[in-house]
């Protein structure tokens, strides 16, 4: 029996060797930092180095963060911006996919698809640069247009009233085209006979949408809805970092930008790690429950 196992292991040795480099990389660059989370419970002094002889202070870093007057605000901003993005990120792509599905002109349909998913592939540095220019209150394209209509200029990126919505809308703009494609793929999978039968029964376009199209992609909608649960704390660091300023910290500062500022700019490593850990733990709960529900309700498996 043991001999058999040794034989089996020997046979599997090439597979182990093959996966080894990747395994080592993931150990070093994902698991060692996880061990580095101990910084969150230390009064961390960089000169004494990571895993060095640091002073342990229990949950003091967490208590300190919770006591900060603006922490509740940051938490709320994160959740608010992220959940609005999640909702629009479901509604807009489904709507556009249903409309695109009605389009009969194939070439036009394809060109529109290609156009709408372009922004997904551009970085927030590029897009941030473009929006900072376009939304400028003095010479930006949008405000010039508003002025022509006789409206006052809006300081989209400097006004706390407008900033979160600017983030939500520009993010939806960037991502909806990409999301549309998956619903469109599901819609093209619906049996065309169903529509023919409905037409014979006298169902108009609206009725067909309600009774055939939407039920036909119900599973995909449920799956993506459940999976998007995992994003409820991802308000979008790249986007906000490239478009915010101290003027809009009140409405636009999120956990990730906060971690960056206190950690890498103010060098309060312990506190920043504590905030990061706080976020990671909640994200872990959200993401694993989203996977669980997706598995339960949509039979979704990643491996």
């Amino acid at each position: 029996m043991i001999e058999l196992n040794i034989k089996k292991l020997k046979k599997e040795l090439p597979l182990n060797l093959m996966i080894l480099p990747g395994f080592i990389f993931i150990l070093i660059f994902s698991y060692v930092p996880m061990a580095g989370i101990i910084i969150a419970f230390q009064k961390f002094i960089p000169a004494k180095r990571l895993f060095g002889d640091q002073k342990w202070i229990g949950f003091d870093n967490f208590k300190y963060v919770m006591s900060l007057p603006n922490f509740d605000n940051i938490l709320w901003n994160t959740f608010y911006i992220a959940s609005m993005k999640v909702i629009l990120g479901l509604v807009v792509p489904i709507t556009i996919a249903l409309l695109l599905n009605e389009m009969k002109h194939i070439l036009l349909k394809r060109s529109i698809q290609t156009a709408i998913y372009l922004p997904h592939f551009l970085s927030w540095v590029v897009l941030g640069g473009i929006f900072i220019d376009m939304l400028s209150p003095t010479d930006g394209l949008i405000n010039t247009f508003l002025n022509k209509l006789g409206l006052e200029s809006i300081f989209f990126l400097g006004d706390n009233k407008w900033f979160p919505y600017t983030m939500i809308i520009t993010d939806t703009w960037k991502e909806f085209g990409y999301g549309t494609i998956i619903y469109l793929a599901a819609l093209t999978g619906i049996n065309p006979n169903l529509y023919e039968a409905a037409q014979i029964d006298g169902a108009n376009r609206w009725k067909q949408t309600i009774h055939i199209s939407i039920p036909g992609i119900r599973m995909v909608i449920v799956l993506l809805m459940v999976l998007s649960l995992g994003n409820l704390l991802n308000a979008g660091f790249d986007q906000i970092f490239n478009m915010y300023s101290p003027m809009v910290y009140e409405s636009g500062d999120i956990l990730d930008t906060f971690v960056y500022r206190i950690g890498l700019l103010d060098a309060q490593f312990g506190v920043a790690t504590a905030v990061g850990l706080f976020k990671s733990v909640i994200a872990l709960i959200l993401v694993s429950s989203s996977y669980y529900f997706a598995y339960r309700f949509a039979d979704y498996r990643i491996f």
């Binding site: 551009l122 930006g140 999301g179 993506l224 490239n242 996977y291 491996f303």
Partner: protein, 292 residues
């Protein structure tokens, strides 16, 4: 079977609406291109919309002479070449063993979980930064490549692709005396070329677009990749990388046309390759939407 072809108003309005939606997605890019090709005087007035006014290539000429721009371009090219190669190599060598059944590969579950956990739990910014610093990678190109060397999403795409490859093929290879390496190399890889090309393109786009790691891991702005450089120039409005001569020229060109030219150049390679990424969209999309 429609007998008479009457004008369908829904179709007309729907088509117009969707064309407008598509326009809204591409017009910002066209706007920035139009500004970059306009004269600086007219760009500063804010009247350029979607077509250049007083056509001029001055801003591109200035960028072409800018050392910091080309330095960062070289860093970016090195990065996508090295990063892309390492990503694909690791994705392939991880995906192949994981695509085996449990009875063929005893430790499959253990490895699969090790990789999977990194998708749902991350250590966060500070511990990762500390590690990169401890390893002495600061100000080297490896700081931009090694922390993301294992592309877990690509692994999953590839392993699902390997799984649907007919078993008979690998079995016959084993009959002929080939080992795992040889089977991977001469059967799985050629058959999975479309999937490998896709994960390679995704990896190249990802490396090209990354900017934050460059910003934090490079102390010397000379080591910035292009997107980090653009970030400092366009977003932070930091002109520390400007030489005195360049500053003199800068005074004559509007900041606006110059920024626009650099933004456009930063996006150009992506605009050229992104239409080819559609093939595995749906699969990548379902996975991508759960990125924690």
């Amino acid at each position: 079977m429609r007998i008479k072809k009457k004008l369908d108003w829904f179709i007309v309005i729907n088509n117009i609406f969707l064309i407008l939606v598509a326009a809204v997605c591409v017009l910002p890019m066209i706007h920035i291109l139009a500004i970059s090709l306009s004269s600086s005087a007219i760009a500063a007035t804010g009247t350029v919309t979607f077509w250049p006014k007083e056509f001029s290539l001055t801003s591109y000429e200035f960028v072409a002479q800018r050392k910091a721009f080309w330095d960062s371009m070289i860093v970016s090219l090195q990065r996508i070449a090295l990063g892309g190669a390492i990503n694909v190599l690791l994705a392939t060598t991880i995906a192949y063993p994981l695509s085996k059944e449990k009875n063929e590969f005893s430790f499959r579950t253990f490895y699969a979980w090790t990789f999977f956990i990194t998708m749902i739990f991350g250590a966060g910014l500070i511990p990762t930064y500390m590690l990169v610093k401890e390893l002495g990678l600061i100000d080297t190109i490896w700081a931009l490549i090694l922390p993301g060397a294992v592309p877990v999403f690509s692994v999953i795409i590839l392993l699902n692709f390997f799984r649907i490859t007919p078993k008979e093929l690998s079995e016959s290879a084993f009959m002929d005396g080939a080992g795992h390496w040889r089977t991977l190399w001469s059967i799985y890889i050629p058959i999975s070329m479309p999937a490998i090309a896709t994960i390679l393109l995704f990896s190249l786009v990802g490396h090209w677009n990354s900017w934050f790691d460059g910003l934090i891991y490079m102390n010397n702005p000379g080591n910035y990749p292009l997107q980090s450089y653009i970030q400092t120039v366009v977003v932070q409005k930091n002109f520390a990388t400007l030489t005195p001569e360049e500053a003199k020229v800068m005074a004559q060109i509007s900041d606006k046309t110059l920024k626009s030219a650099q933004i456009f150049l930063g996006a150009l390679p992506i605009i050229c390759v992104y239409p080819f990424l559609q093939k595995y969209f749906v699969k990548g999309m379902v996975l991508g939407s759960v990125k924690g």
